[in-house]
Symmetry: C2
Subunit: 251 residues, 2 copies
DNA sequence: AGCCCATTGTCTGTATACAACCTGTCTTAG
DNA sequence: CTAAGACAGGTTGTATACAGACAATGGGCT
């Protein structure tokens, strides 16, 4: 965890700065609205101004920072509604991906790959009833979503979705851990997995409209998780980048 | 048109470089796939390497350039399918915007503003029957789409749509001029304008699903225009950035 | 004659120096 | 006591120097 400084000599300084800076922002080390000083980051990240500047520009495009009119960048703050819409955007684009995959047909190998992924998720959910460890589910879930997007086979859509998922709390599995302490956990995972199976079936059968609708609804599970996280600070802490979300009431 | 070089001393060098470089790419002055050399751009744009580099990064994020693995950037080439999907993405997101606007209600002033814009478009279409000058229509059309997006009042969605419309041939009115020589011109403008009116009505009546469907279909007019442009090189020349689109057959 | 290796030229990645700008504070005049 | 202006500190925007990497080319060896 603390070996980020000198490690990875192979990576370019720019990438190193980008990763480290994103980590800082997500961890909440910089306060929302606060200006991110280039020079401070120079001494904090151990690289010169040029890569820092590069990283700042890229993180702005990513949506984690926003440009200050007078120059420089500040940590962005997100309202509850903005998070909600970000999730809706992702769901809409994933819906589009599913529809395109259904309409022009997915490759046999991709379908098998996806089915295999779902079987593994089933295993994890079964085991989940004994010991709660969502990391595997989160990873497999992300993998399934990636397979689905690849099925659309449309680079521009992939790009847009990457961008939509760049906001940490908008990505496919960012809000899953929120439910880890919930008694509904198993219920929710079961429902989500059923949607996974349904959308895959719809794609196989070339039912584009259905595939799209399912993916949209699937993303709305994240809305529920968000709702829960906004109520309990304890659950909120499980979400990466939660420090960027403006709370409704300050306790 | 030729006063871009030394003018606008107030603008930052980075912005100047970005605008000039985008112009070069869209004009087709750089061949798709070709590497964009920083030093060559330095002497071509009259600014130093730092702003050039900045502009390159931003144009990559915009989608006009792509990173070369070994370093640097190249002009991106788009397949017919990629253009098609880019249009579909824009339509989908505009559909989402219309639905959100309908569901949570648009402000009275925004609705009036939009209606006024549509009246102006009506005027232009009427005049269009005499003299063909689409520039006004293009501008008003863009304005209406912007008003619509603003009605959603969702910064993340606005951002994503800006990004989706960054590709020149994917934006709302980029492909309109394609029809300027077509006998169907008046027909198409009439249909498009009717969709404008319908979507506005749907938003007023809080018919979210309908508003969304209309905007999606509305964007598909661009598909038809694209089809036409791909057949006639003469029409293709009217589209900015057409040089980036890979032709199916090389004549 | 063909292939491999070395060398050279050009490119990008990085660091840093300089200048213009904005901001906040302190002083001074009304 | 207030308000306006000037100054100082720090910030970013820009330019340029340097080093490492990649690619192309030419010569030598087989």
């Amino acid at each position: 965890m603390t070996m980020d400084k000198a490690s990875d000599r192979s990576l370019s300084q720019t990438v190193k700065a980008q990763l480290a800076l994103r980590e800082l922002v997500l961890r909440g080390a910089l306060n929302p609205g606060e200006r991110v000083s280039e020079l401070q980051m120079v001494e904090r990240l151990g690289v010169s101004r040029t890569p820092v500047r590069m990283a700042l520009v890229r993180l702005e495009e990513e949506g984690l920072l926003e440009a200050i009119p007078s120059g420089g960048f500040a940590v962005k703050a997100f309202s509850e509604k903005e998070v909600f819409v970000s999730i809706e955007i992702r769901g809409t684009l994933e819906g589009l991906a599913a529809r395109l995959a259904a309409e022009h047909g997915a490759s046999r190998s991709a379908l098998l790959n996806a089915a295999e992924c779902l079987d593994e998720i089933d295993d994890v959910i079964r085991r989940e009833m004994l010991e709660v460890d969502l990391s595997q589910y989160v990873e497999l879930n992300a993998r399934f979503h990636r397979i689905l997007i690849d099925m659309a086979d449309s680079p521009p859509l992939t790009r847009q979705l990457e961008r939509a998922s760049a906001l940490p709390f908008a990505s496919a599995s960012a809000l899953v851990p929120v439910q880890s302490r919930s008694p509904e956990l198993h219920h929710i995972l079961t429902v989500a997995q059923d949607q996974h199976r349904c959308v895959l079936t719809a794609i196989e059968r070339r039912e584009g409209s259905r595939a799209e609708a399912i993916m949209r609804e699937h993303a709305r599970i994240a809305h529920r998780n968000l709702e829960r996280a906004l109520s309990n600070q304890r659950d909120m802490d499980l979400v990466p980048g939660s420090a960027l979300i403006k709370r409704r009431i300050r306790a």
